[in-house]
Amino acid sequence: MSLSACEWVDFDGGDANSDLALAIAPARWLVVAPQEAWLAERTQAALAGLGALIDVSGRWVPVEIAPDSPALSAAAPLELYLRDRDVAALWMFDCPVLIVRCNGEIRLLVEASYAHSLRAMLARL
């Protein structure tokens, strides 16, 4: 099942105004399962021209992976990518993923159409 999510794209150098926001690109944040209050606040910010709120529900699905899975070191230098940040957007076995470090755990989000292939690749490794 895909996730409910929104992207906030900021025009003025601000941020997404949410502790749950994942900085996935410069001036772009992803909020998974956004709260109504946040949506309302960001809608007002968009109306004020501060940025754009885009519903991307359905784009990302979670993929389970063990933190010591060989697939992680086979895909990317994660220690390097996550040294100064908690989320990185990258290609993992040719699938676009977001790797999120949360409370010491590693979580993967993959674009929905790639989920089947990525899971199959992880199972092979």
């Binding site: 895909s2 992207e7 784009r59 895909a75 230098p77 929905a112 159409s113 690749m121």
Partner: protein, 942 residues
């Protein structure tokens, strides 16, 4: 087979048997094929590629040009494995290459009789009559190194990504010193060494470092690095470096099977890969038994192998004497040292003279003698080459100096180069050693003097049988640049990429052309630094892992319905449904006919969808698209096209306006990422700082396309009462958004767009993927049968609509019939957008520029296929264009097509010939308007 146990740094006392060319030999654990066979007295390891001369070991690393073996039995054998690299295992079967029927008796060696014909570039001048094909089979059998395996049983190799502060390539003296310096300063270090043990040439070095013997220093360095957290990776060769990334290949035992491809990241990359020893050219310098001096030293120190009983050393530096002393200490009889220099102050020389070893200054080896192996050399003073004297020997150790090992990367990719790789050859300078050889006092010497007629036997590049005569011929024929010499003579190609012969060849080219060596330079070596199995480079991209398959949310529905799914532009898409026909052709016709007669449903989820939002979005899209986006009303859509900067059509699709500052742009399925990149480029450069957000929402919207006369009825039945009004009143290219839920499901947003790619009354339902399946099921239950891409193609060709077959990266909007988009707006002004400025180029307006037309068979029944070229007659050689698409139309009961034809021949009614020699025959065709069916568009407006 020797029963006496050898001792050496890399071998143990455990023995076992292995096989070479069917004969049984004995090896010790740790032996390579080279050391085990050399210990058994084997001199010849194979035959050369062109002249099929017997060849032995020259070097003791992957740069070995001659001793390439095939490991294992066909069909899953491994060819071209360097004998010094592969570690022998019990029962291993090894075979020499380039010989038939055997190494000793080779029919191909008769080629030497015609050696005068096989000079450089002979294949450009021969084998022409009666034709190349006449000789091709024989040449292919004779050509190449080794035979490719018919299958592979190798397991998939691993891939590993690691990062550090410093990556050092090479764990010899310089590499270890650099690693210690870095690790002691607190940096994270990865040290890569291609050999199974670290230390490099310190394995036979007798000097002291930091007050301890060299090998003891290596041991201490290794322990300290371990304590400091450095990572030492043996059997790991750096094969390439670029930017801050090093690619390394770990291959235990020197044989594919447990390989790992490593991508190593660090801000600092250090090249400590040392230097590669090079030979000197003299007549018949390729005989078995003639090898590089360093190789011989390593064979003794690491494997306990003496390469001969009566050895001659030949070279141009002081290290020859130190080597001779070490060889004598190892029990080798050194008969003579031939030094090309006139003077030397080497203390080692004095020791050798006192011991009775003949040490000749300003002498050279003119020629080697022998058949299957060297048995003597002819030497002479350099200034009097005719005063030849014969010296019996069974081994010649040659050293013409060293070439820094810098080929793994461009110079700019290494942050630091140290040791021999930087041209520093004195151990004292590299590692603070004492009692070492000191500077070798090398004086350049490349080849012995000889008559021009004998230059064909002075070998420069042994792997490719390139001689001095070949270099002279190349220069005489005008190939003066070293890159041209390389390609014409094959100097420096193959597995060793000029490691041993490259510098030698360049120097001889300089001599023959009267130029300075610096002006000639060396040819560019191609990566990887040493041969790597193709399977290792592919990593996990093999078999099912070759590429991901994208699936829509409706994938399982298609599978259940019996769809034949094919990979198209990365997506698994239904080409047709099996119940409708035996193959795509038959099923496509059935499905297309059903859509026209009743209706059908198709999965359009793969269409790219980009959401563009922000106050500046309308003006931005006006600049990117040919059409005016800002003129689109909210709730309406427009067919739009965008151009590249050069005026060629990049893609087409729909622009939907959701609000004053919000649009969705659809793209073709294969162009989503490309169009996104195109828009982002302009947003971030030409219109930087504007309020424009672009998001890829392709995954967020499933798209169900319902088309045909019954589509409205089916939608009314499924969507519910709330949708009655929009279904009744929705105009073409308008859309509404409401909520819809399946019977027991949660509601989700649904966008209903009236648009058609089939030419029928049609709607696109854009919905959240979670409700795509229940919506699809409901519409199928309501009487809409699924149709696939085959049918969709028929429907759109019948209407003259465009796909990538027509928008193929070469067509302008005028070519594709989109000229209406270029007209002035209501204000009379022609808009400016990306790509328009170049549309007025002369070439785009030429009379023979292609334009889109429709085609029918002139007889109303013959077949013609996409790709066929169109001409005026059956014998004309000038093509007027080609057929982009062709289908059998169930509506018209004949073959129809679209084509791009020269404008000056494109008048409707013209008859031309569709030429298709590869698939059979010529078909007379007639030009018609592209819209074959319902050109007024009445069915869309139903």
């Amino acid at each position: 087979m020797s029963a006496k146990l050898r001792t050496g740094r890399r071998i143990t006392g455990e023995t076992f048997a292995f096989y070479f060319d069917g004969q049984r030999y004995c090896a010790q654990r740790g032996d390579t094929a080279a050391s085990a066979l050399a210990a058994a007295g084997v001199r010849a390891f194979g035959r050369s590629i062109k002249y099929r001369r017997l060849r032995g070991l020259l070097a003791l690393g992957p740069e070995e040009p001659n001793a390439l073996l095939t490991v294992g039995e066909p069909p899953a054998c491994l060819p071209n494995v360097p004998a010094p690299v592969v570690r022998v295992t019990p029962g291993m079967r090894l075979y020499s290459q380039n010989r038939w029927p055997s190494l000793r008796v080779d029919a191909g060696s008769l080629l030497r009789l015609g050696a005068g014909f096989w000079g450089a570039g002979f294949y450009y001048k021969t084998f022409m009559w009666p034709s190349w094909k006449f000789y091709e089979g024989l040449i292919r059998r004779l050509a190449g190194l080794g035979a490719a395996p018919a299958e592979s049983k190798l397991p998939q190799s691993k891939v590993l990504h690691l990062d550090a502060d410093v990556i050092i390539a090479g764990a010899g003296a310089a590499g270890l010193r650099a690693a210690l310096d870095a690790a002691r300063s607190g940096q994270r270090v990865i040290l890569c060494e291609r050999e199974p043990v670290i230390g490099g040439e310190l394995s036979f070095e007798t000097a002291s470092i930091d007050g301890v013997a060299a090998l003891h220093w290596v041991q201490r360095a290794s322990e300290e690095l371990g304590h400091l957290g450095a990572r030492i990776m043996t059997d790991t060769a750096v094969i390439s470096a670029r930017g801050n990334v090093v690619i390394a290949h770990k291959q235990p035992a020197g044989l594919p099977g447990a390989d790992t491809l490593l991508r190593l990241y660090a801000p600092m990359l250090v090249n400590a890969m040392g230097a590669v020893e090079r030979p000197i050219a003299f007549i018949d310098n390729d005989l078995p038994g003639i090898m590089l001096a360093g190789a011989a030293e390593r064979l003794i120190s690491d494997y306990g192998v003496c390469v001969g009983k009566r050895i001659v050393l030949f070279g141009n530096h002081d290290r020859l004497y130190r080597t001779a002393i070490r060889l004598r200490q190892g029990g080798v009889n050194v008969k003579a040292i031939i030094d090309t220099r006139a003077l030397t102050a080497s203390a080692s020389r004095a020791i050798l003279l006192a011991a009775g070893v003949e040490c000749l200054q300003a002498y050279t080896i003119v020629r080697a003698e022998g058949g299957g192996a060297v048995r003597a050399v002819q030497i002479a003073p350099i200034k009097k080459a005719t005063a030849v004297r014969r010296v019996d020997c069974d081994s010649v150790l040659v050293s013409g100096g060293w070439s820094p090992a810098v080929r793994a990367a461009a110079p700019s990719d290494w942050h630091s180069v140290c040791g021999a790789a930087a041209g520093e050859l004195a151990l004292a300078a590299i590692a603070g050693a004492s009692d070492d050889d000191g500077e070798p006092q090398l004086e350049a010497y490349w080849r012995s003097p000889c008559a021009t007629a004998d230059e064909k036997n002075q070998f420069v590049d042994m792997q490719n049988d390139v001689t001095v005569a070949d270099l002279r011929q190349a220069l005489a024929e005008g190939f003066c640049d070293i890159e041209h010499v390389k390609r014409y003579t094959t100097l420096g190609i193959g597995t060793e990429q000029g490691a041993t012969g490259g510098m030698l060849g360049a120097a001889i080219v300089a001599e023959l052309s009267g130029s300075a060596l610096a002006a000639i330079g060396t040819s560019r070596a191609r990566g990887p630094y040493q041969p790597v199995p193709m399977g290792v480079l592919s990593g996990s991209r093999v078999g099912a892992g070759l590429r991901p398959e994208r699936r829509t949310a409706l994938h399982e529905e298609h599978a259940k319905a019996g769809a034949v799914l094919e990979l198209m532009a990365g997506w698994m898409r239904p080409r047709y449904y099996q119940g409708n026909g035996a193959d795509a052709f038959a099923a496509g016709i059935v499905e297309a006919a059903r859509v026209r007669k009743q209706g059908g449903i198709c999965d359009g989820s793969t269409l790219g969808k980009l959401e563009i939002a922000g106050a500046d979005a309308p003006a931005f899209l006006d600049r990117l698209y040919l059409n005016s986006a800002s003129a689109i009303e909210t709730g309406r859509a427009r067919y739009a096209a965008l151009l590249r900067e050069d005026g060629i059509v990049l893609d087409d699709g729909l622009l939907l306006r959701q609000a004053a500052d919000r649009f969705t742009a659809t793209t073709s399925s294969s162009h989503g990422a490309h169009v996104l990149s195109h828009l982002e480029f302009y947003r971030d450069t030409e219109w930087r700082g504007r309020r424009i957000a672009i998001s890829d929402v392709t995954e967020c919207w499933s798209v169900l396309i319902v088309a045909g006369p019954a589509s409205r009825t089916a939608l009314t039945a499924v969507l519910g009462r709330a949708w009655n009004e929009p279904l009744l009143n929705l105009r073409h290219m308008a859309f509404v958004e409401r909520t819809w839920s399946a019977a027991a499901g949660v509601g989700a947003k649904l966008r209903l767009l009236r648009a058609s790619f089939s030419g029928e009354l049609a709607y696109e339902l854009h919905c959240h993927p979670d409700i795509a399946c229940p919506l699809w099921q409901a519409l199928v239950a309501a009487g809409l049968a699924p149709f696939g891409l085959e049918a969709l193609d028929i429907l759109r060709v019948e209407k003259g609509y465009l796909t990538g077959a027509e928008l193929n990266g070469l067509t302008t909007p005028m070519d594709a019939g989109l000229g209406a988009m270029l007209k002035a707006g209501a204000d009379g002004l022609t808009r400016n957008s990306v790509g328009r400025a170049l549309l007025g180029r002369e070439g785009y307006l030429a009379a023979d520029r292609p334009i889109l037309v429709g085609l029918r068979a002139a007889d109303g029944k013959s077949q013609f296929l996409g790709g066929a070229q169109v001409t005026t007659t059956t014998t004309a050689t000038q093509s007027l264009g080609y057929i982009t698409s062709s289908v059998f139309s169930p509506a018209l009961q004949e073959w129809i097509g679209l084509a791009l034809i020269a404008r000056n021949c494109s008048a409707a009614g013209n008859e031309l010939i569709a030429r298709d020699p590869l698939r059979g025959g010529n078909t007379r065709v007639r030009i018609v308007p592209p819209a074959h069916l319902d050109p007024e568009g009445q069915r869309i407006k139903a």
